[in-house]
Amino acid sequence: MWTFTEDTKKISRGGGISGSCFGKFFPAAIMASDTDVSLLVIVVDVNPIWWGQQAHREPEFTLAKCLDAVMVLGNSHLAMTRSNKLAVIASHCQDSYFLYPTKKSADNGGDESSSGDGKYELLSATNNQMAEEIREILSKTEVRGNSTDTLLAASLAKALCYIHRVSKELEVGQEMKSRILVIKAAEDCALQYMNFMNGIFAAQKQNILIDACVLASDSGLLQQACDITGGLYLKLPQKVALAQYLLWVFLADSEQRSQLVLPPTAHVDYRAACFCHRNLIEIGYVCSVCLSIFCTFSPICTTCETAFKIQLRQMVKPKKKKLKQQM
C-alpha cells in the first residue's frame, strides 16, 4: 500500500515491501539521494510581558505582525524546495512550545480544512496550525512574577534535539543541512549563560548554523552564537519591515549565502568579565582547577579554595622571606 502524506513528500510504505520494488513503479528521479533536506527551525520569542509593553510603545508592530512575518518566512522556505522542512518553536517565559509541527498535525493527517484562496495545502495547513497553537499557548499564560525572562536557552536546546531527531529519521543516502533562526525580542538573561554556551557549542559540533534577528536590544550571547557557528546576526533598524529583512537575509541557506551580498559581520567583543568585579578584562588570572577568571592575583581562589604557588623572580625573594617571617 502506498500513501502520500501532505506535509512531507515522503512515500510511506506499509507491509513488508522492500525498497527494491520501488523502482518498478516510479521513475528513478524520486529516489532518496536526489533530495537533500534543508531544515529551518525558527525560534520566536513570544515573551508576553515584553510584547505587551511593546504594544504600548509601538502599536503598529505587535506580536501578531511578528508572527505573520514569521509565517511568511516559513512559507517561503517550504516553497523553495519540496524537500525543505520547517519547525517553529515559541519561546515563552515558562516553557517553550512547538508551534509547528505539533502532535495534532501528525494525528490528523489530511483532515485540514483547505483554505479558500487556492493556496498550496501544505502552506495553509502550516499556517493554521501555527495560529491555533499560539492562540492556545497565549490564552493559557498565567501571570507569574518570578520568571519574566524568555527561556531562550531551553528553546535552543529543544531545537537542537528536534534537528537531531529528524536527522535520524532520514532516508538512507539523504543528507540534511539545518539552521536555527532566533528572533529575539526581550533582553538577555545572564543566568542562562552556561546553558546557552553549551547549546552553541553543541550546534557548532553538529554544523548547525545559528542566525539571529534581534528586534530591540543587542544580545552578546547571540552575537557569540552567530560568530561561533557561522551564522548571521542582524539588529533591525525598523521592526515594521521584519518580513522583508527575514526574506532578504535569512531565507538563503549557507551555500547560497556565499553568492549574495549580505550585511557584514560585526566585530564581537569576546572579552571575559572577571568573577570578582564583573568588569571586562583583557588579561587576567585563571584558576587551573575551577577555571574562574580573576583580574588580580590572590593566593587562594575564592571559588574553589585552591591555594596557588607562584614563583616570583629572584629579586623579589628577600621581600618574600620577610613576609614569611612576619607570618
Binding site: 509593553q53 501578531a64 552578546g220
Partner: protein, 520 residues
C-alpha cells in the same frame, strides 16, 4: 697543545720548518710540527683545513713537502735526514694522501649541505640574505640550529633510503642447474646469488677471499664449489680433499652450538615438540629411546642429514638477515657467529626473559589503576558559574502591575489571532528595508572590507614578508635563550641579541622611511 691523548700515526724526525730543526707528527686529525727539544707544537693544522699537498720534484736537492691550506697559506717541511729523507717524505705523503680525502669530504660535505639547503628553500635563502649578508646575525649562529637537525634527518633520507634487501631463502634453488646436452650441467650464477651465498655462508666467503685470485680463478672456484659434496644434499663423505671440507666441519660445529644454546624463551619448549603420534587424534607419544646411530636405517640417517641441512640453511639465512650493516671484513666477529644464532641468543638474557614471563602472566586491565593524582574540585561559590564571565548589565525591572497589564493585553490580542499574510507590511517599509540592505545602505556600512592584499602592491608585500620572516627568526633566537641558566646565555641575551635586534629595527625603520618617502 701537545695532547698526548691523540693517536700518533707517524713521527718523522729531522724535519726542518722555517730553517729550524724539529719533528713532524701526523695525528689522527691533524698534522703538527714541534721544534727540536721542545715539548710543544709550533705548527699544527687540522686535515680539514688542508686543501692539498705538494712535493718537490724528485731531482731536486731539497726534499720538501708543502701543505696548502684553504686560507691560501703555504707551509713547507724540509726533510733533512740525509739517508731517509726521500723515504720519510714519501711515507708522510702517502699517509696524508690517505687521510686528507676523508676530512676533505667532511668539510665539503657541510658546505655542500648548506648550499643545497639554500638552493632548495627560497624562504631560507631570503632569510640568509636578509640576516647574514646584512650582518645582523653571524653565519655560525644562523646555521647552528639548522644543520644539526637537518643533517640527521637528511642522512636518514638520502643514505638509508634503500632498505636492506633480505636474502631469499630459495637462492640456492634459484641456481637451477640445466643439462648441458652432453652430460654436463650448467649453473647460472648471478651477482645476487653470489652475494646471497656470501652473506649466508661467511665460511664460503672466507674461502673465496683466501683462494681467489691467488690460487683459483673465479670460475674454477665456483666449479669446485658446485662439484664439492658440500653443496650437494648428501654430504655423506666429508673426508675428501676439498677446500670445502673445512666449511662442512665448521657448519657442523655451528649447528651443534646452536642446538646447545637452544631457544631462551621460557615459554617455548622445543624439545616437547614431536612428530610421533600414537594414532590419528590420540596425541603425542615419546619415541623409543633409539637414538644411537647404529640403530638407524640408512634411509633415516639420510633423512636426518637432509633435515639437518635444511635447518642449518634456514638458520644461516635468518642470521645473515639480522646481521645488518655489518661489514663482513670483520673477521673477529665473524668466526664467533658462524653458527648464526649466537647473536640472537645474546639478546635473550635475563631482562628480556623476565619481560616475556611478565607479558604472559599479567593482564594490564586487571591491575589496579594508576591514574595521576588530581585535585578534587569543591566549589564554594558555584553561583558564579550561573552567569559566567559576563559583565553586569543593567537590569530593567518591571513592576508587577506592568506584568499583569502586559499579559492581559496579550491575552486579549492573541485570542482572535488570524494570520493576515497579505498585509504583513507596507511597500514603503519594504522598500526602505531594501534600501538599508543594499550596498551603501545603513546596514552595509561595515563594508566587505577590501582585502588588504588587494590594496598594497605585491613588491611591497614581498618586502614586508621578508622583514617579517627575518624578525621571526630573530625572535626565535631570543626565545631559545630562555630559560637563562648559563652565563653564556645571559651574555648572549644582554649583549649580542640586543645588537641584533637593534640592527634589525634600524633596517626596518630605514625601509619604512624609504617607503613613506616614495609615497609622498
Amino acid at each position: 697543545m701537545a695532547s698526548l691523548s691523540e693517536e700518533v700515526l707517524l713521527v718523522v724526525k729531522k724535519v726542518r720548518q722555517k730553517k729550524q730543526d724539529g719533528t713532524l707528527y701526523l695525528m689522527a686529525e691533524r698534522i703538527a710540527w714541534g721544534p727540536e727539544g721542545k715539548d710543544r707544537f709550533t705548527v699544527s693544522h687540522l686535515y680539514a683545513d688542508i686543501r692539498c699537498q705538494k712535493i718537490s720534484p724528485d731531482g731536486k736537492a731539497k726534499v720538501q713537502l708543502q701543505l696548502v691550506l684553504h686560507t691560501g697559506e703555504n707551509i713547507t717541511f724540509h726533510f733533512a735526514n740525509e739517508s731517509t729523507a726521500v723515504k720519510d717524505r714519501d711515507a708522510a705523503k702517502e699517509l696524508l694522501q690517505q687521510l686528507l680525502p676523508k676530512f676533505k669530504k667532511k668539510a665539503n660535505k657541510e658546505l655542500e649541505e648548506k648550499n643545497r639547503m639554500l638552493q632548495e628553500d627560497p624562504v631560507l635563502f631570503q632569510l640568509y640574505k636578509d640576516l647574514v649578508v646584512s650582518q645582523v646575525i653571524s653565519a655560525e649562529e644562523f646555521w647552528a640550529n639548522r644543520l644539526g637537525g637537518v643533517n640527521n634527518t637528511d642522512q636518514a633520507l638520502y643514505n638509508n633510503n634503500k632498505q636492506e634487501v633480505g636474502i631469499s631463502g630459495a637462492f640456492l634453488a634459484d641456481i637451477r642447474p640445466q643439462t648441458d646436452g652432453c652430460n654436463g650441467l650448467r649453473y647460472n650464477l648471478t651477482a645476487d646469488i653470489i652475494e646471497s651465498i656470501f652473506r649466508t655462508y661467511p665460511a664460503v666467503k672466507q674461502k673465496y677471499c683466501e683462494n681467489v685470485p691467488h690460487n683459483l680463478t673465479e670460475k674454477e672456484f665456483w666449479t669446485r664449489f658446485f662439484q664439492s659434496h658440500y653443496f650437494h644434499r648428501d654430504r655423506l663423505n666429508t673426508g675428501t680433499q676439498d677446500i670445502f671440507s673445512e666449511c662442512a666441519k665448521q657448519d657442523e660445529k655451528g649447528l651443534k652450538s646452536m642446538v646447545i644454546q637452544g631457544v631462551k624463551n621460557p615459554l617455548l619448549n622445543l624439545l616437547a615438540l614431536d612428530d610421533n603420534t600414537l594414532d590419528e587424534g590420540y596425541g603425542v607419544c615419546s619415541p623409543q629411546p633409539s637414538t644411537s646411530v647404529a640403530n638407524r636405517t640408512v634411509k633415516e640417517s639420510s633423512n636426518s642429514a637432509i633435515i639437518k641441512r635444511f635447518n642449518h640453511h634456514s638458520a644461516m639465512v635468518l642470521a645473515a638477515g639480522s646481521r645488518k650493516g655489518e661489514t663482513l671484513n670483520d673477521q673477529g666477529s665473524e668466526t664467533s657467529s658462524t653458527d648464526g644464532n649466537s647473536r640472537d641468543s645474546d639478546c635473550f638474557h635475563p631482562p628480556v626473559k623476565k619481560a616475556k614471563l611478565q607479558e604472559a602472566t599479567e593482564y594490564d586491565d586487571l591491575q589496579g589503576e594508576n591514574r595521576p593524582k588530581t585535585v578534587p574540585l569543591n566549589l564554594k561559590k558555584s553561583d558564579r558559574y550561573a552567569h559566567g564571565p559576563v559583565p553586569l548589565q543593567s537590569h530593567q525591572y518591571t513592576t508587577s502591575q506592568d506584568i499583569i497589564n502586559s499579559v492581559n493585553y496579550i491575552h486579549h490580542e492573541m485570542s482572535n489571532y488570524k494570520p493576515n499574510l497579505t498585509q504583513v507590511m507596507s511597500s514603503t517599509a519594504a522598500s526602505s528595508a531594501i534600501a538599508a540592505l543594499s550596498p551603501g545602505g545603513i546596514l552595509m556600512q561595515g563594508g566587505a572590507p577590501q582585502a588588504i592584499h588587494q590594496m598594497i602592491p605585491t613588491d611591497i608585500q614581498g618586502e614586508l614578508k621578508h622583514l617579517y620572516v627575518a624578525a621571526g627568526e630573530l625572535l626565535r633566537h631570543y626565545w631559545s635563550c630562555f630559560p637563562v641558566n648559563t652565563p653564556f646565555l645571559e651574555e648572549k641575551l644582554t649583549g649580542h641579541l640586543e645588537e641584533m635586534l637593534q640592527a634589525a629595527y634600524n633596517k626596518f625603520h630605514a625601509w619604512q622611511t624609504r617607503r613613506m618617502m616614495r609615497k609622498t
